[in-house]
Amino acid sequence: MAFEGLTEKISSAFKHLRSKGRLTESDIKEAMREIRMALLEADVNFKVAKDFIKAVTEKATDAEILESLSPSQQVIKIVNEELVALLGGQTTRLTISPNPPTIVMMVGLQGAGKTTNCAKLAALLRKQQQRRPLLVACDVYRPAAIEQLKVVGRQLNIPVFDEGQGDPVEIAKHGIDYARRNGYDLVFLDTAGRLHIDEKLMDELKNIKATVKPTEIILVVDAMTGQDAVTVAQTFDEALGIDGVLMSKMDGDARGGAALSVKAVTGKPIKFIGTGEKLGDIEPFHPDRMASRILGMGDVLTLIEKA
């Protein structure tokens, strides 16, 4: 098990503890090297990992910990707690506008999972909060993007507003008007995938935002993303001011260090995770589970308690 891997490594970094009776700062340093490696292998951004290790080292070199009975477990506990805190501490929900409709704009790189997950979210909120969702097809570029949204809408029995390959800003605006007129209180704008460095398409998003003033802008990030997650998230956030993140494809076996990177550079909460291709595969984000996953640990706290 991966957990044992990391624990063993840290314990072995502390192995001469018994002979010496207490941990030294260089013991801590060695342990931190192992943790750094684990973070990097989990795709946590290099700089984020560096800052994280620095913060944890300060806490871990506290005299009380160095002299405690099971310092290696203490250190793992600190690492875990800090990671949970950095990931946002607790689960954050979607903001609902006091003046309906609530407008949620889904943005992100190509293939991240915007279309699928806006349909999933719409279905989730319809079920949990008895909302009346509408999906708006603002992707006029990708071949069959509108048809894709219509198919998922049909599967869920959620209506889809589209105007063919028109102007996405106009479509968004008309979609909201349509929702107002027809009593839909929750609108999802499915936008086209784009590169964060594509100025023209980023301007299009800014125009949509200025025109419809969305309640939430959700950045969809693939859980398998590597070091570049920070650049992507930062650029989208600077351009649009995102409100939250949805991590997709969490049903894979990626460690998902991108979650930490994205949270660290934007400060915006991760709100949901996509856990499959089926339209029910969506869950709220739990920072503690994500922390264990990034570190490659099972249920870390129960293991620490047993130790």
Binding site: M37, Q148, H196, I197, D222, T225, Q227, D228, G252, E277
Partner: protein, 302 residues
């Protein structure tokens, strides 16, 4: 536009963390010490080469630098390029010599399989070949519609069944149709699937077997599509897909973004699967042959 220009153009659009940091590493070069090697390692990790592969590469650079008594920044840069080159397979073209030739395209969700197939079909049609697309993604919403639009753009034929049909049956029919119509190349689009899902990987193995059984003598490419934005997980993807259907190459997509796709360095020599094609945009011409030297050049600024 060639591979290098495309990549360079992509780089110009943004402040490029990696080449920037490497540039400053070399600019500040005084002697090969811990700090310098650490910075090299950092630059590699930031291109998704991976922490352990980066450490290995840097150790090798250090070893060779000592042996050769390297003293200048440009020598060190050459050394790094040399070590990276040794860690990657050389350029290999696709083999579509058979008649028909089969190209099976596989990978996880959303990496760019369907789009790359559209681009590839256009390339072969423009070379005067008769191309048949096989819509074996019967799962994803509107997947066949998407492929059909690409078939039209490219001027290729397409065989599709209804949603939810058996993908292996689509492949079987595509092969029969290709034989009947005298197609030169069959390109099979498959549904995105995560490599940790046994049932979906078995489905892929079944498609693979149908092709081998129906066209035992066809020249065959099985291409794994990897998104350049992907981190360390790409290694697992390559390993698992290679088990389900023996890979002959990789298509590395989305290199027009700011990600470097350094993960293919670990995969190329490690698994013995060369990168063959590169995706640099969403347009029909945005697929180019992989060029190792240019790729490493992009990771290491000249």
């Amino acid at each position: 536009m060639g591979f290098f220009d495309k990549i360079k153009q992509g780089f110009k659009k943004t402040s490029d963390a990696v080449s920037h940091s490497l540039d400053s590493v070399f600019a500040a070069f005084v002697k090969i010490d811990e700090d310098l090697l650490e910075e090299l390692e950092e630059a590699l990790i930031l291109s998704d080469v991976g922490a352990s592969t980066s450490a290995k590469i840097v150790a090798e650079v250090e070893k060779r630098a000592k042996l050769r008594k390297t003293t200048t920044a440009s020598e060190l840069r050459d050394l790094l390029r040399e070590v990276l080159t040794d860690n990657m397979l050389d350029n290999q073209p696709l083999d579509v010599s058979g008649r028909p030739a089969v190209i099976l395209v596989i990978g996880v969700n959303g990496v760019g399989k369907t789009t790359s197939i559209g681009k590839l079909a256009a390339r072969y049609v423009s070379e005067g070949k008769k191309v048949m697309l096989s819509a074996a993604d019967t799962f994803r919403a509107a997947a066949a519609d998407q492929l059909e639009i690409w078939a039209k753009r490219a001027g290729a034929d397409i065989v599709r069944h209804g949603e939810g049909a058996d993908p292996a049956a689509v492949v079987f029919d595509s092969i029969s149709a290709a034989k009947a119509r005298g197609s030169d190349i069959i390109i099979v689009d498959t549904a995105g699937r995560l490599h940790n899902k046994a049932n979906l990987m078995n489905e892929l193995a079944k498609i693979d077997r149908v092709i081998s059984r129906e066209l035992p003598d066809a020249s065959r490419e099985t291409l794994l599509v990897l998104d350049a934005t992907t981190g360390q997980n790409a290694v697992h993807q390559a390993e698992e897909f290679n088990k389900a259907a023996e890979l002959t190459g990789i298509i590395l997509t989305k290199l027009d973004g700011t990600a470097k796709g350094g993960i293919v360095i670990a995969i190329s020599a490690g698994l013995g699967v060369p990168v063959k094609l590169v995706g640099v945009g969403e347009g029909i011409d945005d697929l180019i042959d992989f060029d190792r030297a240019a790729f490493l050049e992009a990771i290491l600024p000249p």
